[in-house]
């Protein structure tokens, strides 16, 4: 640093804004260049982004490892699907109801579970998924059991007299894009708020956090509910995209995938999660990797992340951002 730098910062070309703009344009124009299948891959990735953001708030920011994301994802999917099939309600209502119900169910589950210590908590959250699946299979009058719900309509909006349906892949892509951007923004605002700072404090040292007046337990419960809401919203979009829901939505597969997205992309960063979901879900979907091969790859990814890359891709992304910022 030369002495001159101390008085006034030298004019720098901050490339973050142009990069963001380019990304936004690319996202908007993607359907023009990409085939239906690639678009489908991105849609799946963007849907998974929602529960992943929720999980990131829990694992990355508050430091609570949870496998329950699939349970809330499933609850969201069933809520949305049932409302659409039984009552024919418009998409936005189903969507909101899915998020709210997931959060509401997370409350009674979280109260006892969050009193447990790390490993027991993980197992308890695993139990939610298993019991969720059992309920979906056995409450046949409501869920139609193993047959699942089919014929869930593509999202349609009804505002006053006007109504329109989103049916094609391209229009669905835009819908999911809007939702994903909003979810990302919401996650960003949460972590940037005072609450976000408190969450990090709980992750770093719970007793110290308590001693500066942070009600750690209540924060954990609220974050658990928020993360469930994110998963529920994701499940709702998933149900309307696939138009079917089955008890298999309550599967460890989904929890594992969301964990990989968060840990691989970089727990505790928002951009990492976006990157992670495009990479781990989008790419593997686009390459039409067989599910077994994908799970094997996920398994090795988990091992690599735990032992060698505890921060996932976050350091790389960080370097990229600072490269954009500090380039002269």
């Amino acid at each position: 640093m030369s002495p001159n730098d101390l008085s006034l910062p030298a004019p720098r070309r901050d490339l973050r804004l142009p990069f963001g703009a380019a990304l936004a344009v690319a996202a908007c124009l993607a359907p023009l260049f990409l085939g239906n299948y690639a678009l489908h891959a991105i849609i799946i990735a963007l849907i998974f982004l929602l529960p992943a953001h929720g999980l990131n708030l829990l694992v990355g920011y508050t430091g609570l490892l949870s496998l329950a994301q699939a349970a809330f994802f499933g609850i969201g999917a069933y809520t949305s699907g049932l409302m659409a099939v039984r009552f024919g309600t418009p998409f936005y209502l189903n969507f909101l109801a899915a998020g709210l119900l997931a959060a509401a169910i997370a409350l009674p589950l979280g109260i006892p579970a969050l009193r447990l210590r790390a490993t027991s908590f993980v197992m308890c959250t695993l139990g939610f998924v298993i019991i969720g699946q059992a309920i979906a299979k056995n409450w046949i009058s409501l869920t139609r059991g193993d047959m699942g719900l089919s014929g869930i309509p593509k999202p349609y909006f009804a505002l006053g007299p006007a109504s329109f349906t989103i049916s094609g892949t391209t229009s669905f892509y835009y819908l999911v894009l809007v939702i994903a951007v909003m979810a990302t923004l919401a996650a960003y605002l949460i972590v940037r708020s005072a609450a976000g700072r408190n969450m990090v404090a709980i992750r770093e040292n719970e007793t110290l956090a308590e001693s500066v007046g942070i009600p750690t337990w209540r924060y954990k419960l609220v974050v658990f509910m928020i993360s469930a809401a994110f998963a529920g919203l994701g499940g709702s979009v998933y149900a309307h995209y696939l138009t079917v829901v089955s008890p298999l939505t309550f599967q460890m597969y989904y929890s594992t995938t969301m964990l990989i997205i968060v840990l691989g992309g970089g727990a505790g960063t928002i951009s990492g999660v976006v990157f992670g979901s495009l990479l781990f879900v989008g790419l593997s979907e686009a390459l039409r990797v067989a599910p077994e091969v994908r799970m094997i790859a996920y398994g090795f990814c988990l091992l690599a992340l735990v032992f060698w890359f505890p921060k996932g891709f976050a350091p790389l992304i960080d370097r990229f951002w600072s490269f954009l910022r500090e380039r002269k």
């Binding site: 579970a113 197992m123 056995n138 077994e292 990814c301 988990l302 735990v306």
Partner: protein, 290 residues
């Protein structure tokens, strides 16, 4: 009516024995590694597949297949233990959870990839019925109960008298001290892990003739059922695990008959949640023995 209930209880004891043999390995691994092995059911599956492979492709007799299943699992356990489990020693709890989840994914899906995901017929075993105390039971079921008793007696003796058993107890009580007095902690961890995996495999091979079918995803269900058992038994507690496994087995069997078959697989986790909320240290003592 009474004899019907009695029959269900005996059936429950059989499946309880199966869970007990799997769970005791998992609980011992927890005692030493302080980590829940989320891949434990996969060794059960590997043992079964090893035996199935030996019978299906080489037409070997069932007793030989048992040995092959267990040995094959041991070989895999050596590799996993060396490269993964030893690294978990002393790591934060999340490390163990994530690493063993990773192992579970790799093992399970590799088997599905190689052998296909469908159900396979397991043809070995002693399925002739025998008559004991007035009611009939397949020989294989009797064998399972006998092996379970032998395993637990053997483990009790080993833990109390052998060098290895003493080392295991020492490690589970205080890792730092062990390093000081010259116990090779990673070595103890590795051997405990291999022993646990072999027991799971043994349980798998013994159960296969009863279940008749084998498939790649079978390990996951066993893991899910074993988790409640080891928690209820009080993590690291061998005797507690035995009783918890029996309780789960009998409860499942009764629920399957009198409530509905579809609820059988939920019994474990439902009780687990209740136990966790009511007595977070398990039903049998808070003190982790072993």
């Amino acid at each position: 009516m009474v004899s019907a209930i009695f029959e269900q209880i005996v059936n429950g004891i059989v499946s309880g024995s199966v869970y007990a043999i799997v769970a005791v390995g998992m609980t011992m691994i927890f005692g030493v590694l302080r980590a829940i092995n989320f891949a434990h059911g996969e060794y059960y599956m590997l043992g079964t597949f090893g035996a199935w492979f030996a019978i299906e492709y080489f037409d070997l007799p069932y007793p030989v297949a048992i040995v092959i299943g267990v040995v094959a699992t041991a070989v895999i356990a050596v590799v996993v233990g060396q490269f993964v489990m030893q690294r978990i020693v002393g790591a934060p709890p999340e490390t163990g959870v994530l690493a063993t989840l990773g192992i579970a994914l790799v093992l399970q899906n590799t088997v599905i990839l190689v052998f296909g995901g469908g159900y396979k017929f397991f043809s070995g075993g002693y399925i002739e019925p025998v008559s004991i105390f007035g009611f009939t039971l397949a020989e294989q079921r009797v064998l399972i109960i006998i092996v379970c008793i032998l395993v637990f007696v053997g483990l009790e003796l080993m833990v109390t008298y052998s060098r290895m058993g003493k080392a295991m107890r020492a490690v589970s009580q205080n890792i730092e001290c062990c390093a000081v007095v010259g116990i090779d902690v990673p070595q103890v961890a590795l051997r405990t892990f291999i022993l646990g995996a072999c027991l799971a495999a043994l349980s798998g091979v013994l159960t296969a003739p009863v279940n008749v079918s084998v498939y790649g995803g079978m390990g996951e269900i066993i893991t899910f059922k074993t988790l409640p058992v080891i928690i209820m038994g009080g993590l690291g507690n061998v005797r507690g695990t035995f009783f918890a496994a029996m309780i789960l087995g009998i409860a499942e069997s009764l629920v399957a008959t009198y409530v509905g078959l579809q609820f059988r697989d939920t019994v474990g986790f439902a009780t687990l949640m209740l136990v966790l909320m009511w007595r977070p240290h398990g039903l049998f003592s808070a003190q982790a023995r072993f």
